[in-house]
Amino acid sequence: MTEWAFDALLAGGLLGLAWQIVASRVLFRSVVLFIVFGLLMAVTWARLHAPDLALAEAAIGAGITGALLLSAYRAFLSRRGTDPGPPPVFPRWAAVGVAALVGALVGGIGWVVVGLEPPEQTAGREALAHLAISGVENPVTAVLLNFRSIDTLSEVVVLFVAFLAARVVAQDLAHAGPGDWLRASRNEPVLVQPLIAFIAPMTVLAAGYLLWSGEHQPGGAFQAGAVLAALGVLLRLTGRLRPTSEPSLAERLSLVGGVVLFSAIGLAGAGVASAVLAYPEGWEYELILLVETALTIAIALPLVLLFSGSGGLRREVR
């Protein structure tokens, strides 16, 4: 019963927040509530026995996305030139019509979903059945890095492409990302330096743990990458990393390294194993770990660069 009550509360919270996000009068509230929404989502994942997702959502959905949104919100505040005024309001009668249509759609989806019988044979069952020969123990990781590894590979490409795409429309460094780079100076609060000195290694450690543990329990490259990215965001915000317009060679190599390594191993699989993206028997675990490590960096770096709004980052030596 309590579980039901909790679920209901969770659902109510999600719906209420969603409504506030799309309909509240104050934009800032929407942005902040979206971060809350992400956290609530993470709780929901947890409720639904999806701890991997809960971790990822907290780190990426709420964390990184939130940071991106906030910095974008700030950019929208800094009005230049003429004041365009608020966007025109959607006419009420039309909104009612839209609501009716949306209602019909929701009703339809709801009706279908409730009537959906779980099929006997699913890809998930197959995955669980083949878990033993996948080389890892966490079924999600097995799916991601073995059974359907092409998705993972492509998805990292997506991230890379997002970075490339952002470079196409990027503004100058002064106006990109969180705004002007603030050189870490003596004016900053006294606690910042020690905290960073503490947090940075801890975060790297946590990321390493997540990465390693992803093999048998919730965690993995995404989560680890998100945590690393969060560190990058922190360093960028505190002025420890300076944005540069073009990535250095090392950065470029890191950006593509994950995919290249993954592809190389995958293509080698055509020779040594049966098919492309197949791991040679007995080497599954090692290779997956290797790939995951490379992917962690390949995930973290674009995220940081996207937040920073720059092509690259340099360590700032004081």
Binding site: G108, I109, W111, V112, V113, G115, L116, E117, P118, P119, E120, Q121, T122, A123, G124, R125, E126, A127, H130, N146, F147, R148, S149, I150, D151, S154, E155, V157, V158, F160, V161, A162, L164, A165, A166, R167, V168, V169, L249, R252, L253, L255, V256, V259, V260, S263, G266, L267, G269, A270, A273, S274, A275, V276, L277, A278, Y279
Partner: protein, 487 residues
């Protein structure tokens, strides 16, 4: 061996893109060309293998569906792959001098375009619904920045609009995939179709996926993003977007309806979707008629031409019409791909020479752009479906199918579309023939085109004409692995 060619067609351009990104375009131009040629070779090999040995299958990671992801090349895939490779090779050859001439170094363009190429190949080969979702997102994220590349107000707005609609579309698609997986437990395209049947959830899933793909492929009521996006992109990007990316979306629509949802394809459904196609054919052409710039005309023409592909759905259910319509639609996709790419590249030549693509500027450019204008003219001829182009063969087959089944309405749409296409085409071509107005003084003489730019459009367009000679082998290839109704 031949199985490896399927993943290679995805990995070769992808890795080329990554290498180019790392070592920089200036040093990697040879790599780009090498990658493009390799991809072309792989794609043609796949087509050959399919033609000789029937549909090709490759299980990625060695896992068979439903567990793993299957790459599957039947005749349709092979043809699309080959078309993409040929157009892609043309675009690649063209883009180098074009970007250099426009003062770009291409650092942004090349990786995006090569990844896009890889994604296109992936889209045509993948038989996995979720993998296709990833591919669609990749297409969106490579296409939108290309559209925004000009960086001015209209192109940014266009990219923004495109992005929003495309995201809505992909989310709808994913929702549909979720429902389908929830109902069948598999993500494999054909398996899901075999398991699903005509259930309520299939209907909703089909609706969501179709509508989502429509938003991505710019089918009639959701087409508004296409014109500004495609007309503002750099010419080689426009060519790829119009000829390939938009078509990939429609390719998926057809795949889904023929392989996954054939049970839902009732006559009213055919009328609804085919009707949208018909409206698109007419509407897009009429819009093209009033555009002041060349690339806008060509972009609206894309909207119209994509509409033809949807005419398959009402016809494919009729036994008398099915085979002809199927052949016609695929030929149309191919011919349109070549012709449209050629047209956009030709428009690029105009921009390169004159600095703009306003139609009025076509007056008196013939001496400088004769080859280009020939390519443009031939491309338009194929678009309006006049002989001896591939577009004509496609139209002939569509019409034959429609008339054989007594479907005069669809036949009428095909004909009407051709007529309006002729109207906008000749509006453009007439200006190319028009004399220079009185008092016209050339402020600066147009630039000379590098040979690659001069001939690439013509070569692409001529491919559309080569179909007159290769029609039979192409359709034999298409019959490899074609579904029951259209064999």
């Amino acid at each position: 061996m031949s199985g490896v060619a399927l993943p290679l067609s995805f990995f070769v351009p992808l890795l080329t893109a990554l290498v180019v990104f790392v070592i920089g375009v200036r040093r990697a131009y040879g790599v780009i060309l090498l990658g493009a040629l390799t991809t072309l070779a792989v794609a043609l090999y796949v087509a050959y293998a399919v033609a000789v040995g029937g549909p090709q299958v490759h299980y990625l990671g060695g896992w068979e569906p439903p567990l793993g992801v299957e790459l599957y090349a039947d005749g349709l895939s092979a043809l699309m792959l080959a078309m993409t490779a040929l157009v892609g090779a043309g675009v690649t050859l063209y883009a180098g001098p074009y970007l250099r001439g426009k003062g770009h170094d291409g650092e942004r363009f090349w990786p995006l375009w090569l990844v896009q190429w890889a994604t296109l190949n992936g889209t045509f080969l993948s038989a996995d619904l979720f993998n296709l979702y990833v591919m669609l997102e990749l297409l969106t994220l490579t296409a939108a920045p290309l559209a925004a590349m000009a960086g001015d107000r209209p192109s940014l707005a266009a990219a923004m609009r495109y992005l929003l609609l495309a995201l809505l579309g992909s989310m709808a698609y994913l929702l549909g995939v979720a429902l389908l997986y929830g109902g069948t437990g598999t993500l494999h395209l054909r398996e899901a179709g075999e398991l699903a049947g005509a259930e309520p959830y299939t209907a909703v899933a089909a609706a969501l996926m179709t509508a989502g793909l429509f938003a991505k492929a710019a089918v009639f009521p959701l087409h508004i993003w296409l014109m500004p996006a495609h007309s503002n992109a750099p010419a080689p990007a426009s060519a790829a977007l119009s000829a390939l990316v938009a078509k990939a979306g429609l390719y998926l629509v057809l795949r889904l309806w023929l392989w996954t949802f054939p049970a839902l394809l009732s006559a009213p459904m055919g009328w609804l979707i085919g009707g949208l196609g018909a409206v698109a054919v007419v509407y897009g052409s009429v819009q093209a008629l009033r555009q002041p710039r060349l690339k806008q005309v060509i972009a609206y023409s894309t909207i119209a031409q994509l509409g033809y592909l949807l005419l398959l759905l009402p016809l494919v259910a009729l036994p008398a019409a099915a085979v002809s319509a199927w052949h016609g639609v695929v030929l149309h996709a191919l011919a349109h791909g070549f012709a449209k790419a050629g047209a956009f590249l030709a428009a690029g030549n105009m921009i390169y020479c004159l600095g703009h693509d306003r139609l009025e500027g076509l007056r008196g450019v013939t001496p400088y752009l004769s080859v280009t204008l020939l390519a443009l003219g031939l491309a338009f001829v194929s678009l309006m479906g006049l002989p001896p182009s591939g577009g004509f063969l496609a139209k002939w087959l569509l019409l034959e199918g429609a008339l054989a089944a007594g479907q005069w309405f669809w036949g009428g749409v095909v004909l009407l579309g051709g007529l309006i296409a002729a109207a906008y085409s000749f509006r453009v071509l007439a200006l190319a023939h028009a004399e220079v107005p009185h008092g016209y003084a050339e402020i600066r003489s147009p630039r000379r085109l590098p040979p690659a730019m001069e001939w690439a459009p013509l070569a692409l367009v001529l491919l559309a004409y080569g179909m007159l000679l290769g029609g039979v082998p192409i359709l034999e290839l298409l019959d490899q692995g074609a579904p029951e109704g259209v064999r």
